[in-house]
């Protein structure tokens, strides 16, 4: 790029956001949880795929199943939001477009987590449509 400045000179002024480490740790800790949750999810999927609507309702009436599936979805969305944020920051130039994508990404995970939690709780409590 015809740029002979040192890495230090180029980094100066950009500054640190002061929360990169927290982001890194959140990605790893959610990943640890997901290793366990995803393995459980894969173990349950064949039953749910075979069972249909009635089976899924009965399956969700178990507190353990409802809790673990809500955790799997919630932690999954959270981990996905972190990962997608890194991808956006890596590939999209600074500007309004990047900001819009980051905001959309933040909205998506919370909306998806809320929708999933409410839906699964309704079914688990026997309040879902039959």
């Amino acid at each position: 790029m015809g740029d002979y400045r040192t890495p230090l000179r180029r980094a100066r002024g950009l500054g640190s956001a002061k929360h990169g480490v927290g982001h890194f740790i959140a990605q790893r800790v959610s990943a640890v949880a997901l290793v366990l949750l995803v393995c459980w999810g894969f173990s349950q999927t064949p039953f749910l795929v075979r069972g249909g609507h009635d089976f899924a309702r009965a399956w969700l009436a178990s507190p353990l199943n409802a809790t673990l599936l809500i955790l799997l979805a919630g932690v999954g969305f959270y981990h996905g939001q972190i990962g997608m944020q890194v991808i956006i920051e890596d590939y999209v130039d600074r500007g309004a477009g990047r900001t819009a994508l980051l905001i959309l990404n933040a909205f998506v995970w919370l909306a998806a987590a809320a929708l999933t939690t409410v839906s699964l709780l309704l079914v688990a409590l026997g309040r879902g449509a039959v």
């Binding site: 790029m1 075979r50 249909g52 979805a73 969305f77 997608m84 890596d90 929708l115 699964l120 449509a129």
Partner: protein
């Protein structure tokens, strides 16, 4: 700092797709990202599954029917493959975080193991779904 703006725009994109030679560990790295993006979509499909489940048997049947034909089935297989690959390569990342596994031979070997695991686990998972009769009767 008045002159910093053009410098900011000239920063390189990661992981430098334009300048790196394509080799095993680069594939492992970029496919980890690609798989993550597929799983982002997969997570949204899970949210829709929960929504349709709560909306009743008819809505649920209509939703699950989307995945009995080949485009939907292929998408689910891609999501399964991505999940197993991202899982295996994520564990590879844990070892890197602990400072282990950076030797070139080790990194190449573990990349190959992750690819192999993802393919085998996906085949076994879908074989198990088939043996459950999950998709046998349409």
């Amino acid at each position: 700092m008045a002159e910093s703006s053009p410098t900011i725009r000239a920063r390189p994109t990661s992981p430098h797709l334009q300048v790196w030679r394509w080799h095993l560990t680069l594939w492992a790295s970029i496919l980890h990202r690609a798989a993550g993006m597929v799983l982002y979509l997969g997570a949204l499909l899970l949210a829709l599954w929960a929504l349709e489940l709560a909306r009743g048997a008819a809505a649920f049947a209509a939703y699950t029917r989307l995945f009995t034909h080949w485009p939907g089935r292929a998408l689910l297989m891609l999501i399964t493959l991505s999940a197993f690959y991202h899982l295996a390569n994520g564990i590879r990342h844990f070892f890197w975080d602990m400072g282990k596994g950076f030797a070139v031979r080790t990194a190449n070997l573990t990349a190959a193991i992750c690819f192999g695991f993802a393919i085998l686990a996906t085949l076994m998972f879908w074989w198990r779904l088939g043996s459950f009769g999950a998709y046998g009767h349409g």
